[in-house]
């Protein structure tokens, strides 16, 4: 089949080959030293830690926003719904600059988080906002309201109904949205580069570290840290596939 050939060649040349080049460059006896150097360790720890915190916040607020968009009615709801996609439509460097404008040294509110780890978290929260919301929204909208009514007739309170009837139905969507957001956060660069200040050992995330290493022609170190990021990305994608597979097997 012609299409199969085209797809295979396109993906091999554009995706597989470049990433293989990174892996090949990283495979040196010094690989372990590269990824455990103080700068690399600090950057990877910050990246992972911030991404996990951001993912946790996304799980809660993403679900809350999705809930409000599906179950609540108020003026301006449609605008709010459209705004959820804004972080995706906005170039990442613009997102960084926008946050810097309000929450930076010249901001009008007197709040200045620029060049701190809080800024890193804020930038990551901004760019990953759509993931959980957009994963949960359609599932919540398609949910059978009768099950909730049934729970109420059986004596469950509003919170109990949400926790024991609604939440379990939303869980696969929440998890897959959160995982995608996590993958995005781990690799994020554009929105962080301006606002984090890139202070080594303090606010420098992995992608910014790699960028610096490329700039200073240290491609071996850059490739080594990149491979860790690549493996994380791959892990998330495989996890999502496992989740889908389990989900479809249980016929849910």
């Amino acid at each position: 089949m012609l299409g199969l050939g085209i797809a295979t060649v396109y993906l091999s040349l554009l995706v597989l080959l470049p990433l293989a080049a990174v892996a090949a460059k990283a495979v040196t006896p010094r690989f372990w030293d590269e990824v455990t150097s103080p700068a690399a360790r600090s950057a990877l720890e910050l990246t992972l830690g911030a991404s996990l915190v951001v993912t946790a916040i996304n799980v809660v607020f993403g679900t809350v926003v999705a809930w409000v968009l599906v179950r609540d009615e108020f003026p301006g709801k449609r605008v709010l719904n459209a705004v959820v996609d804004l972080p995706f439509a906005l170039p990442t460097v613009v997102a960084g600059l926008i946050l810097l404008g309000l929450y930076g040294p010249t901001g009008p509110l007197g709040i200045d988080v620029a060049y701190t780890r809080v800024a890193v978290g804020l930038a990551l929260l901004f760019v990953t906002l759509p993931f959980v919301v957009r994963a949960v929204q359609p599932v919540l909208a398609a949910l059978d309201r009768e099950a909730e009514d049934a729970a109420q007739t059986l004596g469950a309170s509003g919170w109990q109904t949400f926790r024991r009837v609604v939440l379990p139905a939303l869980r696969p969507a929440i998890v897959s949205g959160a995982a995608l957001g996590f993958a995005r956060a781990v690799g994020e660069f554009g929105s962080i580069v301006l606002i984090s200040g890139n202070i080594p050992l303090k606010t420098q995330v992995a992608s910014v570290l790699v960028f610096g290493q490329i700039e200073s022609d240290d491609v071996h170190s850059a490739a080594a840290v990149s491979v860790v990021l690549l493996l994380l990305a791959l892990l998330v994608l495989l996890f999502l596939r496992g989740l889908n597979w389990r989900h479809s097997r249980h016929g849910a």
Binding site: A24, D72, F74, L80, A82, A89, L129, G158
Partner: protein
Amino acid sequence: MAHSRASKLTVRGLALGYMAVLVLVPVGYVLIHAFKPGLTGVWNSLTTPAAQHAIQLTVEITAIAVVLNTIFGLIAALVLERTRLRIRYVLDLLVDLPFAVSPVVVGLALLLLYGRQGWFGGWLTDHGIRIVFSMPGMIIATVFVSIPFVAREVGPALREAGTEQEQAAATLGASRLQAFWRITLPSIRAALAYGVVLTTARALGEFGAVSVVSGRIAGQTITLPLLVQQRYQNFDQTGAYVAAAFLAVIALLVLLAMTVLSPGRRKTR
């Protein structure tokens, strides 16, 4: 479900407050901030030779990436939905990878292939072809990061449309090409348009990968997002915010298109 009014308002307040702090207020502030120099100032800032070149370069790169990935995305979606061979699992994963991989890693990967020290670097230099630190490299980087969107939007639409309409067309005398143009394509066009919008948004705003492979040569390889950063770092804050606001306005237009074409709306014809 009967909720008390208080809990309903609390949840609504939480959602609105979160969105306001994170998105609405910052974006609104920057849009206002950008117009501080007045309309003439904004106009001048956007019509400098550097800005004009950046806009032109961004549009060209985006156009090429969108065309390539639209064609490829259609083919990939058809292959992934209609093939039962094992290789489709690998292809499926490869389609998603650009979405999860850090743009900086993408940039590095292209350097390692096409840079002076890269796998093809020697051959390219011998033949006088420049990819890295020039437009071809920036195009490849942009194509890479925007691969998934058309394929991912069209796939579910193809599944929903099913193969029965195409079979019906075949029994009525249509060739496979006729069936594709007259039956398959019209039934996925909304999803295709949505995928193209997403691809455009991603390609317009690409920063990390392009930043690495462009070399950021003033007046030559600076796209709009790179211009924002360059101006900011050169202490031209106002200029940076104007360029950022310009991109934000484009983003709002994209957003409008997304809302009109969003999957929820699509169902109702």
